[in-house]
Structure formats: C-alpha cells, structure tokens
Amino acid sequence: MPNERAATAIATSELRRTFKGRRGTLEAVAGIDLEVHHGEIFGFLGPNGAGKTTTLRMLATLLPPTSGEAQVAGEDLLRHPDRVRRKIGYVGQVGGASPDVTGRSELVFEARLYGADPATARRRAQELIATLDLEVCADRKVKSYSGGQRRRLDMGIGLVHRPELLFLDEPTTGLDPQSRARMWEEVARLREAGTTVFLTTHYLEEADALCDRLAIIDHGRIVARGTPDQLKREVAGDVITFGVRGEVGTALELVRSEPWVKEASVDGETVRLYVDRGETAAPSLLRLLDSQGLELLTLSLSRPSLDDVFLRQTGRSLRESGPAA
C-alpha cells in the first residue's frame, strides 16, 4: 500500500487554458475546479470541442495551463510535472502505439522508459498481454490489430508502470458494441484494483454505466457534477406514469395532495407524476390506490437520462451534437 497518499487523486483550482488563433483568443478551458477521489472512476462528459481533451492534456502534463493550479496524484502539476509523470498513465484518443512494431515490443519499451530492467520489462509485458487478452496478436505488428485489440494494447501501455491514476481520453470511440463492452470490463477491473480512472466521453451510456461520479462540461465550463443518479435526480426526479380503471381525474385529485408528489398531470388515459425518488414513491402510490379501492391497470417508472441533464444545463441535446468525426 502506498503511504502518504493525498486526500484526493486530482484537485484543481481555476484551471484555465486559452489558445491564440488567427481569429483572436479561444478559451478552451474556462476555469475549472475539480476534485477526483482515490479509487473512483470519474467521467468528463461533453460534446466535441467542450474542452475535455484540453483539460485531460493539462492534467497529464502534456499542456501547460494558462493559469490556475492543480494537484495530480498528490504532486503539484506546475512545479513537479516530472513527479506527476511517474504516478500517472495516459491513453490518448488515438492511442500511441507505432503501427510498425509488435505489441509486445511496445509494452517492453514502455516499461523500460519507466526504468524497468529488461527482464522485469519482459515479465510485465507478458502479464499485461495475459490480462488484456492480447495473446493472439502480441507478436504481430500493431497495424494488423482490430480496433478492440488496439485499444486494449493502448491501455496496457498506459498501465505498464502500475500508475495510481489512469487518464483515458475517449476510450471507446469508434469501437463496435462488443469491443466497447470489453473495454468497460477492463476499466471496471481497474477500479477493483484500486486505480483511479479519469476518463472523457461523449457517450451518455458510457458515463452512466462506468462512472462513479462525473462532471458535465460545455464550452470549457463545468455545468453540472455529481453521481449519475444525483445528476438525473436534480433535473426532474423520476417519472411515474399509471392508469386506473375508472375516472382518471379522481386518481389525479387523490395523488396530487401527497407530499412525495412534486407535480402531477393527466396525460390521456394516464396520470403522470414527477417524484424525487421513484423507487420509494412507487410503493406509496400502490398503497394509496389500494386503500381507495382503485384498480391499477398500468404502471411505469422511468428515469431522466443524462441527456436530460445536458439538455437542461445547456439547452442542447448531447445526442444531437453527434459522435466524434
């Protein structure tokens, strides 16, 4: 167990990055305050051009911030980028393996760059090849790899020195659903091993399925943050739709006065309820209807998606922003 661990894996204050272009100054990251805890999977969700990659590059020592401060893996990013580098792994959007060499030689080379002796480097490469299921292709040139194999190798390169914090930039963009599910498994396995993961994504499903907490970023600013459930609850709570035998208006009058109902309306033959927590409201509703002798015909419980969150915060749907080119 590493001792003297800092309280948080990442803490930033007013982190900012501007780029000077021909048409003036672009503020790619407009002052971000972040806190990522040890051992969690933290997601950065946002459309293309929102500032996700720029933030990641700054935190991974690749790009100096224009202003602001950051502690990464317990080290001061600005004062000791060299110390940060020893503790983090980084898997960029396009990977970073050379097409003309074998996956195994890339893993060995990477381990050697972190100071491993040749025998240790070969052993570590073999370990990663086994855990990441790369046996079939480890000794072939990287250019012959499938998309999923390539991405798993990229991840192996990032993990060679057992970093306590791993950055993943759009880890599943361009992968087929099967390979994506495989990558999710690998990321989840990292959490079990205690590795902190900071990932960016523009896939709602990915953020929802994988992340313990996330921040939604748009135009270089964090517009919302929390666990996926918290975020969705902040927007509208849950939605319960039900139908009863008989007069729908009676049912509406009945539920409207209940304290756990935030809002109720009639929608055709059904009643729509907005509640804070669907899982506790549904049983209450059943008991209430039962006590009044109303027979329930249909009942559905739905949750707002992260897209609703994004829509609420930015006025745009993330799905409409489209996937990466």
Binding site: G96, S98, E110
Partner: protein, 253 residues
C-alpha cells in the same frame, strides 16, 4: 546518466525499427552514387582549370558529396515524426518520465548512424576511381559528416514539430536545403564563382564544412580550415539539438 540511458533506449527502439527495413540504406545511397558515377567524370576536364582546388577531381568532389549526403539524408527525417505525431506516439512518450532531450537525441543519432553507414559505402565506391584518403583523415571526415547529419536531422525534427503537416514540411525543408547546397561548392568549387557568389558562399556554414572535408581528404588534418569547419558545424549542431529538444517538450499532436 539517465540522459545516456534514455537516449540509448530511444536509439535502440528506432534503430530496431529501421534495421528491419535495410532497403532504406540502399535507397539513400542511390542518389549520391549516381552523382559519383554520372556527374563526377565531368569534373575531370574541369579539374585542370586554374582556380580548381588541388587533389584531382574525385578528391575534390567526394568530400562535397559526403556533405550533401549529410544535408539531404538528414533533412527528410522529420517526415516520419509527423506521422508519429498523428499516431499519438510523441504524446505517449512525452507522458513518460523520459528525458525530452533523449527523445530527440535517440532519434537523431539513429539518423546520424545511417548517414555514417552510407558515407562509408560511398567512400568505398569512390576508391576505384582514384580517391585517396589517410586513415586519420577518414576518421575526422566521418566525425564531421556525422555532425552535419545530427545538425540537419535536429533541424528537420524541429521544423516537423512546428509545422506538424507533411504538405508544408516538404516545400519548406527542401526549399531551404537547396540554396545551402548550391552555395556550398559541392557540385563545383566556389573558387570558380564570381565574387558576389563567393561572398554569399562564405556566410553559408556548409561551405566551411566542405572546405574542411576537402582538406581532410588531402591529409591536412591539423589545419585551421578543418578546425573552423568542424567548430562551426559543432556549434550549430548543439544549438539545433537544444532547440529541437525544447520543441519536443512542447509538442502537442
């Protein structure tokens, strides 16, 4: 120590990629060999003109050809770095604790070694034509050509890191290299040139390298010409290596 170890690691990696395709050594030597076979014979009659340096056509031409090999052989190496920027390789290496200077030196020394191998082949090819060279002169000449290779490989990587695009890289690098070549007196000695051209040539660092190389082929190892040529190239190489290493530290894909 760490710098040397890192440089060695990076060098090994790129050398092993290169050695898997040794055809590039041969391809790189074809052009200078053609100059040797198809152009140098023309100089035999020119060599009798007054103002032509001493030593015979081949002893005047081959040193220049080696400088040309160093210049053109190294200037194109930035191409593969642009590909590596796109593939994320540079970014991946920059996240590791590896020294930024080692990232540059490891690659540039691989290129330097390539040029030295090609130079040795070229010199061997020229002996049947009557080239004369002392062992000490050979060693110093190879050192000089190696420095030229290191200089232009570093500049090439530097330009590649700044432009990050093949379409602008090629015209920039070759447009810059051509006047350097023409004003160095490689093809014909600058002693035959009008005075304004000689003035331009004097401010071209490569013409001093060519002068030094010619002196070395005549066995004049300890002369001021040699010291001056080697010193100029060495200082420029150090500056280029430092600049390119800094660019490596800043590069984003």
């Amino acid at each position: 120590m760490k710098l040397a170890a890192d440089t060695w690691l990076v060098f090994q990696r790129y050398f092993s990629i290169f050695i898997r395709n040794p055809a590039w050594v041969v391809v790189g030597i074809v052009q200078p060999a053609l100059y040797l076979l198809l152009f140098a014979p023309l100089l035999k009659s020119v060599a009798s003109l007054s103002g032509f340096p001493p030593g015979g056509a081949y002893n005047v031409f081959v040193p220049g050809l080696l400088v040309q090999l160093g210049l053109f052989g190294a200037s194109g190496v930035g191409f593969n770095l642009i590909a590596e920027l796109r593939e994320g390789v540079v970014e991946r290496l920059r996240v590791t604790p590896v020294s930024r200077l080692a990232l540059l030196l490891g690659k540039a020394l691989r290129d330097t070694l390539t040029i030295l191998i090609q130079s040795a082949i070229l010199i061997a090819l020229a002996f049947p034509f009557g080239l004369k060279l002392q062992p000490l002169g050979l060693v110093v000449v190879l050192g000089l050509v190696g420095l030229i290779g290191l200089l232009f490989a570093s500049i090439s990587y530097w330009v590649a890191l700044v432009l990050r695009d093949e379409n602008s890289f090629a015209p920039v690098i070759f447009t810059a290299a051509l006047p350097l070549l023409l004003l160095s007196g490689v093809l014909l000695p600058m002693s035959l040139a009008p005075s304004w051209l000689q003035t331009l040539s004097a401010i071209n660092p490569l013409s001093h390298a060519v002068t030094a190389a010619r002196a070395l082929f005549l066995g004049h190892v300890g002369t001021a010409d040699v010291a001056e040529g080697v010193a100029i190239v060495a200082v420029l190489a150090v500056l280029a290596v430092a600049g390119a290493a800094r660019a490596f530290g800043r590069a984003i894909a």
